[in-house]
């Protein structure tokens, strides 16, 4: 018989208790959502397998070189750029621009933080923190591009009026860019503003649970959220420069007309 380490054994028991509790809730609510009761066991099993697989990969990586983080994070950046592309279907050739923006924005901020030692170059920290930065950058960039396209569609007349008066495409698009930039950073700004009052994010809870001093965990949470803000803000700034020209022809005609 295979003997499991006590920590893993304990973890599986915890999973069984938590998973069963969710099933009990749906049994109690079976009249309201009978379909969910059938779906939940499959969803729980799938989720457990996925997260255990990720845990196993991380456990394997822990013993490898810190450089392993580079291809892992690069893969995340590629996946993020592919997802953001779905939000920029009306912009021709958007994928390379989005990829470049994430690499320049999130990539350079992560490198800076790693070089200065703010984010220790250790797999168990670099990959989770990097993934948080990339994932939040992805969300912010999606919001930015979605809003920018909406602004262009809603204000085609103003943009073309500015062009007709001899303005550059950059000048004509500036109000729309400003609106999109401000709107996309509001969630990140609110996260920083509400830190500790409205929510205590997962990374801090995790650090406290793993024995880190709550005060250091709190400070580090601030570091993570402001890093996310910097990465997202820089990525969208780069994207605004790269995407603007794609919205206009070489003869300074608006291509993305409503």
């Amino acid at each position: 018989m295979i003997e499991l380490p006590s920590e893993l054994e304990r973890g599986l028991v915890d999973c069984a208790i938590a998973g069963s509790l969710a099933l009990v809730v749906l049994v109690l609510a079976r009249r309201h959502a009978p379909g969910l009761l059938r779906e939940l066991p499959v969803a729980e099993l799938r989720g457990l397998v996925q997260i255990v697989a990720v845990g196993a990969i991380l456990a394997f990586l822990l013993h490898g070189s810190s450089w392993v983080a580079v291809p892992v994070l690069a893969g995340m950046v590629l996946a993020a750029a592919n997802i953001v592309r779905q939000r920029a279907k009306r912009i021709q050739g958007a994928f390379p621009l989005i990829l470049a923006a994430i690499l320049c924005g999130a990539g350079s901020v992560l490198c800076l933080m790693a070089v200065t030692g703010v984010i220790p170059i250790k797999i168990p920290i670099l990959i989770p923190v990097g993934s948080m930065v990339i994932a939040n950058t992805m969300n912010t960039l999606s919001l930015f591009l979605d809003r920018l396209q909406g602004e262009v569609k809603a204000h085609t007349g103003e943009i073309e009026s500015a062009l007709a008066l001899g303005a550059t495409p950059e000048t004509a698009l500036l109000p729309g860019l400003n609106a999109a930039y401000r709107a996309c950073l509001i969630p990140s700004m609110d996260n920083i503003r509400s830190l500790g009052i409205v929510w205590i994010p997962g990374i801090m809870a995790g650090m406290v649970l793993s024995g880190t001093s709550p005060l250091f965990a709190a400070l580090y949470q601030f570091v993570v959220l402001t890093t996310i803000f910097s990465a997202a803000g820089l990525t969208c700034l780069v994207a605004s420069r790269l995407v603007t020209r794609r919205l206009f022809s070489e003869n300074e005609q608006l291509l993305l007309r409503s």
Partner: protein, 238 residues
């Protein structure tokens, strides 16, 4: 007598000349939005462009200042192919007023200086006051542009285009979105500006009355092609 009568201008070379101007639909290259349209416009002349909705009137206008690219034919401004003129320079020389005013957030004065500011120039306060007074908007320079009525906004939009001192002014149904009183105020403003400045205009309109009153020539479009071209009485009848 119509001040812009073609007979007065016939000895002058054309300021604006279109030859076989065409545009295909971007998503359907087999469909022409405008097909082989030709006309000449002399300095100081007003030409009305009439026709039903979808005839290609706005498409024609947008190709004259290259907001849209022609897919065939040429436009010459003062003898020069407009493709040889930088878009921003062309748009300064060929101003445009759209169906709606599309004023920018800010004051009326800030809207008026927008065009000159693109070239690093400005307008003197006295010049702004004089321009506004000329269209019945005395004291409006510091008003919030986005709070103006439709007629007021359109008069500011006309002045904003003229602040660039264009050689040709394109008017894309500037009164069609206005009520009767506002339309009259804009027509009066245009009338005084056209007469005082001897403006060269291409005026897209649904109103035969406007065409008869101000145009020296009328271009009638239908389904993207020229149906008629000539003096107002020839094209519109008596």
């Amino acid at each position: 007598m119509n001040p812009n009568s073609v007979s007065v201008m016939c000895s002058l070379p054309p300021l604006l000349k279109c030859m076989n101007l065409s545009r295909k639909a971007p998503s359907r290259p087999d469909i022409f939005l405008l097909r082989e349209v030709s006309f000449e416009l002399k300095r100081g002349e007003v030409m009305a462009v009439v026709g039903p909705s979808g005839a290609g009137k706005s498409t024609l206008l947008r190709m004259l200042n290259r907001l849209d690219e022609p897919t065939g034919g040429t436009v010459r401004l003062d003898g020069r192919d407009t493709r040889e003129i930088a878009p921003r320079e062309l748009r300064r020389r060929v101003g445009m007023v759209m169906q709606r005013a599309y004023l920018f957030p800010g004051t009326v004065a800030e809207n008026l200086v927008f065009g000159p500011a693109q070239r690093g120039e400005t307008l003197a306060t006295a010049q702004i006051e004089s321009m506004l007074a000329g269209v019945g908007l005395e004291g409006y320079e510091s008003r919030d542009a986005l709070t103006l009525s439709g007629g007021e906004a359109q008069r500011v939009a006309i002045l904003r285009a003229l602040a660039n001192d264009p050689e040709v002014l394109l008017l894309d149904e500037p009164t069609s979105a206005l009520d009767a009183a506002a339309r009259e105020s804009v027509e009066m403003a245009l009338d005084s500006l056209i007469r005082a400045r001897r403006l060269t205009c291409v005026w897209v309109t649904h109103s035969e009355e406007q065409a008869r009153t101000w145009a020296g020539h009328v271009l009638a479009l239908e389904a993207g092609q020229v149906r008629a071209w000539g003096l107002p009485e020839e094209v519109l009848g008596d």
